[in-house]
Amino acid sequence: MNLSISELITRLLRETWHRRILASLLFVITALIFLVLGLVWPKIYTSSSTVFVEHRSMLQPLMPDTAVNSTVVDRAKIAREIVFSRKSIAQILQNSQWFDTPPSDIEKDHLIESLKKRTEFMNLGENLIRISFKDDDPKRAFDTATLMTDLFIDESVRAKQAESRKAFDFIDNQVKQYHEKLTSAEQAIKDFRSRNIDATPGANAAADERLLQLKRQVESVYLEIYEEQSKLDATRRQLAGESGTQNSASINRETQLSNRIVELEQRLAELRLTYMDDYPDIIQLKGQIENLTQQVKDEIAARNSGVAVETTELRDGPIAQELQRQALRYQTTLSSLKSRKEQLESLMDKERETKNRINAVEAELAELTRDNDVNRQMYQQLLSQRENARISMNIDMENQGLTVRIQESASLPVTPKGIRFAHIILAGLFMSLAVPVGAAFGLSLIDQKVRDAAIISEKLNLPILSSLYPVTTPAMAKRNIIHASIVGFVVISVWSLYGFQIYLRLRGEM
């Protein structure tokens, strides 16, 4: 069935007129139902307040590098949690006149659930929260909204104070820990120092100097020893020079030996002219020459050394004696110098050992000092931070740095919100017309009777001669007018009833 809008409207009106009794009844019933509904529907009053919340962690500005906060926070959810905490809800329950008689636990539970449903927390922007509460009593709605807002703010401030107190305590605790560390590090250095006295600053340099001095002393001792030795040698040569006979005898022996060698060499040369080298005489001769040459050498050596003189030939005589005394003195000096040299050298060794030890101690000390420095630095930093935290805490204690405040306080609601009398009345006016028309049209659709000429001409394929209607007789016209008047009267009386109720409502509310 495809109807144009004008056809549809005609059809709707016609079917409604056709079933005018039913339609009128439905109109009256629907209108009255909505009217009654409008009268008994509870009035809901909403009171709401806006709270400005600037949420910042106390630790963040105080310890910018250490603490990291999560940035996305559902403030409305937090506010809901705060307001509906056990403590807060107990206060809300106490405050208003919710019950006439002392409630049972179940009643209380139901009320809490209903409070939760009737309260709305909404994020208005980054830092604004709206808290709204619905109730059928405007005064109670206002009181509860105000109380919830106050509770939220008190709780937030308290939480903030607790937070700054916590931040201070935390930093204070850290300060104490670092203080302990610093003290123990300093104590360790002190102990170490007392254990290693050498390890005073400059000990190493002193040791170096001492070592240098010892070295110089050793060198001078060496020089002295050399001097004494040469003196002793000279004295001894002088002593040897006193025995010149012995020397000439030695030279004589040498000359004899040399002559003999020359003779033998001549003989050897003569023999070589006639004989081969492996001739026994030649070999013998060679051996003799060699032997003699050795003897010459020994003689020269013995003469130069003069050793044999001392032991073999001691001379008496004053000069010799004097020289001998001198030599004896020199020998004594020399031996004393040598013992001194040894002593010096052992001192040097000791000094070297000390120097090594100093180096090791200094490395350990450097480490201890480094620890100490780091601790000291941290400690000083924390000390200044602790002072900041103390000031922040004091500010919060006096509510000076408040970041939670009422932006717009709750007001006493005058007009009810939500589905109101006016809405129901409007719906009633609409529905009271829509229901009868809809019902009449629905019935006309249900009965499956032919109401469309197109069905006859197109579907049943019957030729339509004409579409007629009865002549409107005066009786019919009169009847129609009477019926229309009755229907009109019914409609107008219902609307008057509506108007009267609206008037009463308006006057009552004004």
């Binding site: 016609r14 009777k449 069905i455 001669l465 007629l468």
Partner: protein
């Protein structure tokens, strides 16, 4: 019918003048196809003008009875009836033909349709119409036309003593005669099947040259009489009331009438 509906009807039926022009044009065409000797026409006119007419309905009487007349205010309806008449004439070549008006369901307003159709035929001073009330169980026409009928078609068929002119009544509408049903009977079908009924119709047709008999029959789905009468007549008009019959009922009625005799349907109050 409410005032709103009427207004809608006028609005949807287009300009009145156009409709009238169309009707006139069609009437010309139809009358041309039914051309007759002028002298013959004149004699039939004279014959008709001599018909007795004692009482005539006033306009207000017609209006209160719901009968159309040529000077009525509701020209839309008037033109619709004229249009219906013209179309009906166009369906057959026969000079005088019997039209039967029946409906799918009882109380569909077909008596008024039949009366108004007969009245429309009688608008023309050269034509007469005859209304036959075949609604034996529930005759209405005599009360619509204010005719005091003692005898009717059944009485005529039942007895041999009654003359056919004895049951033909004059009505307060000029050129319209009524053949009432007579006393209510139970087994009317048996009378309608008789030869006498056939003869009666033939006799009535031949009495005047331009006579258009219209039979008001009961609804076809309810009455066996109607089926028998269909055999005796030339054209059948089926009245379909608004919102009262189903598709199936209409189809059944159309089949019962048969395609040959069915001139077309008339929608009542659509």
């Amino acid at each position: 019918m409410s005032i709103i509906e009427k207004a809608m009807k006028v609005a949807t039926s287009g300009s009145e003048e156009q409709i009238i022009d169309k009707i006139i044009e069609e009437e010309k065409r139809v009358s041309a196809s039914r051309k007759k000797d002028p002298s013959l026409l004149g004699s039939s006119r004279n014959q008709i003008s001599m018909m007795v007419q004692e009482r005539v309905f006033s306009e207000s009487e017609l209006l209160s009875k719901g009968i159309v007349h040529s000077s009525m205010k509701d020209s839309v309806l008037l033109n619709k009836y004229r249009n219906l008449r013209t179309r009906l004439l166009a369906t057959t070549e026969k000079e005088n033909f019997v039209t039967l008006v029946t409906s799918v369901l009882p109380q569909s307003g077909n008596s008024l349709v039949a009366t108004n159709l007969a009245a429309t035929f009688a608008f023309d001073e050269g034509k007469t119409s005859l209304l036959i009330d075949a609604n034996i169980n529930n005759p209405e026409l005599h009360s619509i036309l204010d005719v005091n009928s003692e005898l009717g078609i059944i009485d005529y068929l039942e007895s041999d003593e009654i003359n056919s002119s004895g049951i033909l009544y004059e009505t307060p509408i000029p050129r319209l005669r009524l053949l009432p049903s007579g006393k209510a009977r139970v087994n009317a079908a048996e009378y309608f099947t008789s030869e006498k009924m056939k003869d009666l119709l033939k006799d009535l047709l031949e009495r005047y040259p331009e006579r258009f008999p219209v039979i008001d029959a009961p609804s076809i789905t309810q009455s066996a009489d109607t089926r028998i009468l269909i055999d005796l007549c030339d054209k059948v008009i089926l009245v379909i009331p608004y919102g009262r019959c189903s598709e199936e009922e209409i189809r059944y009625a159309a089949i019962a009438i048969g395609q040959e005799k069915l001139a077309g349907v008339v929608l009542n109050e659509f």
